[in-house]
């Protein structure tokens, strides 16, 4: 018997609940999105986190102050140097430690190199999510590897650097460090140009990214969003400028801001930020002085972490990490362990607006919106 449309009763539609993740290749780790769909349109999105919870904060409250430095590497495992930076800054504030000039410059150079690593990688992965499968990622990896080699030569490890100490850095940079940074910053703009040529004007990319996942300015501010996401929405807020921590107020750089706050702006702002990072690096390696890489006091603290006891009090150290404002809130009761240790993780807070950005969009767009937030699950779940 032939089956025609006439035989069917009036078509009913239903909403469909889909669980994207936790083992989904586009969720950047073990992250789950419970999505309610009407056809392809997202009606509701509920993020489920905690699959990678490792008890970071409580662990840190049970070991020496320096002991949790290697664990901070494992928060946002793509930019371990900036995690170290924020933690070292917070403890130095608490203990009132000074940092020598050379160490300040080394720290800034490392932080900016980390920003290059993170943004390069993010753009590669964002395009992976879009379906530009693995060509941009491999170009990004190729360039990132040069910086990671540098990290390995200086700190001993490519990703888990554990390089910063309270009052300086672990060990002085190698003699060929400055020429190698110079080499990287000479070549990086060329790579960025090539990368942009590959992507920025690509019609498919523009069609997929423009006017998708718009984050309004007001919402961004109210939700406490920080970093490139906030700036893509048009708010010129950069902790490096606002706080001027470390020696950032010595450098001349601009804070790029976006107009609409869509995925394309968030993609493009990162390219612009990388160019500014190169600018900062250029100034830093010109000005870097000779001298100590750690203070005497800091050196003693690094050799016997159990005897390092900051005075009673509390401190909040924050930096502009590649993903946003990374802060460590520490309370000391004068013992060798932190009394309270809290991480203000940018990935986690930036993730809170995911639903607002995704409502009314298609499923495929939710993937790139998530990609453009730039999360690392190590930091979200801690």
């Amino acid at each position: 018997m032939e089956y025609t449309l006439k035989d069917t009763p009036a078509l009913e539609t239903q909403t469909l609940e889909v669980s994207l993740g936790p083992q989904h290749p586009s969720t950047h780790g073990v992250f789950r999105m419970n999505v309610t769909l009407d056809g392809e349109t997202i009606l509701k999105l509920k993020p489920v986190m905690g699959y990678l919870h490792r008890n970071h904060e409580k662990l840190a409250e049970n070991m020496s102050w320096l002991g949790s430095m290697p664990y901070t590497d494992r928060l946002d495992y793509i930019c371990s140097m900036t995690n170290n930076f924020a933690y070292a800054l917070a403890v130095e504030k608490l203990a009132g430690l000074q940092v020598p000039e050379r160490a300040q410059y080394i720290r800034v150079i490392m932080a900016e190199l980390t920003r290059l690593v993170n943004h390069t990688l993010l753009i590669g992965f964002l395009l992976n999510d879009l379906g530009a499968f693995f060509t941009p990622v491999l170009y990004a990896f190729r360039e990132r590897e040069k910086i990671l080699d540098l990290f390995e030569a200086v700190a001993g490890s490519r990703m888990m650097c554990n390089y910063f100490r309270f009052g300086g850095v672990k060990v002085d940079v190698t003699s060929d460090f400055i020429p190698r940074v110079r080499q990287i910053i000479n070549k990086y703009p060329k790579f960025l140009d090539e990368f942009e040529k590959l992507l920025s004007e690509n019609e498919i990319l523009m069609a997929r990214c423009q006017n998708v996942g718009v984050l309004p300015k007001e919402l961004a501010i109210n939700a406490g969003i920080s970093g490139p996401m906030l700036r893509a929405s048009g708010v010129p807020y950069d902790v490096r400028k606002v706080d001027g921590y470390s020696i950032y107020n010595r450098f001349k750089f601009r804070v790029p801001i976006g107009e609409k706050g869509d995925v394309y702006d968030r993609y493009y702002i990162r390219i612009l930020e990388m160019r500014e990072s190169i600018n900062i690096l250029d100034q830093a390696i010109k000005e870097i002085p000779d001298g100590e890489f750690i203070t005497k006091e800091g050196g003693v603290g690094a050799r016997s972490p159990r005897n390092f006891k900051p005075p009673k009090g509390e401190a909040y150290g924050r930096i502009e990490a590649p993903k946003g404002e990374l802060g460590f809130y520490l309370v000391s009761d004068g013992t060798m362990k932190p009394y309270r240790y809290h991480v203000r993780a940018p990935s986690f807070i930036n993730l809170t607006v995911l639903e607002d950005m995704c409502l009314g969009q298609k499923v495929a767009d939710a993937i790139i919106i998530l990609g453009s937030i730039d999360i690392v699950l190590g930091e979200v779940d801690r």
Partner: protein
């Protein structure tokens, strides 16, 4: 013109493809087991124990500082005793569980006797999950020559420091009461 951006991008891909045959900068793959990237001197993997001449005279005096400072607590040390039950300055048991160790290098930094260092060895795959990767004292022992080979500049610095220390200790023992070493 619509599609020009895509074409431009394709051109970049094509350029990369062709140039990857000629320029070394774009040809970054290393055929690993046959070819190897030279190791960096500061590269750190799991720790090892250093001895000077014979494997019996370890530098380690089993002071337990590294075990206490180790963030994931992967080091177990038991102090050796002589026949009368008096503690000796050497470890009886020195275990490092490589399944727990996270290569942070804190043990190396805190060791006051320069007895533990981070190794360059990374091909450590085993069939067992637990006991095979729990390295005992015998497995961890490596000579000072090996250390000087993998990390020449660190070895030179540390040797100079140690020579200075022993010279100082010798003059002290000559002048002051003999028997007290520089250690606790």
């Amino acid at each position: 013109m619509f599609g020009l951006g895509v074409l431009k991008g394709m051109l970049v891909t094509f350029k990369n493809f062709i140039l990857s045959y000629f320029t070394k900068e774009r040809l970054t793959t290393v055929q690993y087991p046959e070819e190897r990237i030279p190791e960096k001197e500061r590269f750190r993997n799991f720790p090892f124990l250093i001895y000077d001449d014979k494997p019996e005279d370890l530098r380690c005096v089993s002071c337990d500082i590294c075990a206490k400072e180790c963030p994931p607590k992967c080091i177990t040390i038991v102090r050796d005793k002589d026949e009368q039950g008096r503690p000796l300055k050497r470890p009886k048991v020195f275990d490092i569980d490589f399944t727990i160790c996270m290569n942070c290098g804190i043990c190396e930094e805190v060791c006051p006797f320069d007895a533990i260092f981070m190794d360059h060895e990374f091909e450590l795959a085993e069939f067992g999950r637990f006991e095979d990767l729990n390295y005992h004292k015998e497995d961890l022992l490596k000579s000072a020559e090996y250390f000087a080979k993998i990390r020449p500049s660190d070895a030179a610095r540390i040797d100079a420091k140690r020579r200075e220390k022993t010279a100082k200790a010798q003059t002290e023992t000559q002048t002051q009461n003999p028997g007290t070493g520089p250690t606790k």
